[in-house]
């Protein structure tokens, strides 16, 4: 995919060119939004709005990392949703199955491991990590999701969240520490190595 050519065409108004860029980045965008908001429906809305906003503001893209620019739209949309939630907190309704039992979102069950036990452990660890992510303030959460979960480098993250590099480094270090401390509450899910180290350091 010739990204610069597609961007140029999209900036001239070609919607098809922009849609090709969407197809290339939608998984990343959704993953970031989902990890930020912990809700599929909200993440869908945030991503859709982000892409519409990106298309309408293509003129403001002046080169650099297009990926970082798109992620900025997504994180801004997530921040808006989190602020809205803070103003009007809601109790999410868990979807009920036909047997009137709550069931988790399919995402929790996603796993590449063949055995059921491994799948369960992985799902629980992921659940624990997601819980720890949700304990972070939004701006710390965005940094750790973009760097550690999504693999962007510091400069791309700096562009995405419109924050200086030094602040990115500081937030990332503190976020990782907080997650590490939070994970101590799920020790049974951690490898023994990590568990022991945690205990040793706390003494």
């Amino acid at each position: 995919m010739d990204e610069p050519a597609l961007i140029q065409s999209a900036q001239k108004g070609e919607l098809d060119a922009f849609n090709r860029l969407i197809l290339a980045y939608q998984d990343m965008a959704f993953n970031v939004a989902y990890r930020m908001l912990a809700d599929e429906d909200l993440a869908e809305d945030a991503v859709q709005n982000a892409f519409i906003s990106a298309y309408n503001n293509l003129g403001s893209f002046r080169g650099g990392s297009f990926k970082a620019w798109v992620m900025r739209m997504v994180t801004n949309g997530c921040y808006d949703e989190l602020r809205r939630q803070k103003r009007r907190p809601t109790t999410p309704l868990e979807p009920m199955s036909d047997d009137n039992e709550e069931h988790d979102s399919a995402a929790w069950m996603a796993s590449d491991e063949p055995s059921a036990e491994n799948r369960m452990e992985q799902a629980e660890l992921e659940h624990a990590l997601q819980h720890c992510l949700e304990q972070l303030p939004p701006d710390f959460r965005a940094v750790v999701v973009l760097v550690d979960v999504q693999g962007l480098d510091y400069s791309e993250v700096s562009q995405s969240v419109k924050t200086p590099l030094g602040t990115i480094k500081s937030r990332l270090a503190r976020a990782r520490l907080k997650i590490r401390e939070c994970l101590q509450g799920f020790q049974e899910l951690l490898p023994e190595q990590f568990r022991l180290k945690g205990e040793a350091l706390d003494e």
Partner: protein, 255 residues
Amino acid sequence: MNKTLTQKDYLLISAYLDGELSVAQKTDVEKRLQSNSNFKLAIEDLAYTKRVLSAMPRVRAPRNFVLTPDKVKKTAKIQRFQPAWGMVSAFSTLMLLVIFASSRLAPVASLMSAPAPVMATEAADTAFSAEKIANGVTPTPMIILWNPPRAYGMGGGDGVAEGSEITAGGMGGGPVTSAPAENPAPLAAVPQTTLDPSNLILGIPDAASQGQTLTANDEPRSNWLASIATSTWLMIGAGLLALVSALLAIFTRRR
């Protein structure tokens, strides 16, 4: 958190794990890694945290988010005028401030530009010399008018009746002094203007007004709308425009 390590240490460790240290800093960290067991444990700790975060499954998009022309048009229409609303709001606020300032400062400016009141002139003094008094000529006290009677509104007109001998100084012009004449003019020649008591320094009315009760304007205030100054209307209009356009700018802002 390890009590022996500081926030700065963890910052260094975090950047080291991401390969974001300079050569000198990296060398320093590796030296400490060899010599300090707590430092080594902290690095391994954070490295594991980073690893489990990286291993979180990437959740795939549940559907395609490709845009259709309708979707884009609808949103673009709403957002098109967003910058304009902001500018309109800013401009209206500025106009409001300018009108407010001019309506408050203008009377002060006119007062400051008005010439100083002229006290009894030499002519008046000489006119009423002791000799004349001795001859039985009774001097009429001089009336100094600070603001000659003028029409309502922004003070545009001079409010002076035609044929009047009083000359107004425009907007609150200088005081008008009239030297009392030896033989006052007959009543018919005196302009029939209503004297505003607030303008009189000496409370002695002229011969024509003597015996009359001077009252404030007795016009019925039925038409209160007309009595509101134009500048006030302009300020209300500018304020409303600023408020409405600011609200529109907020609601149509890009997300």
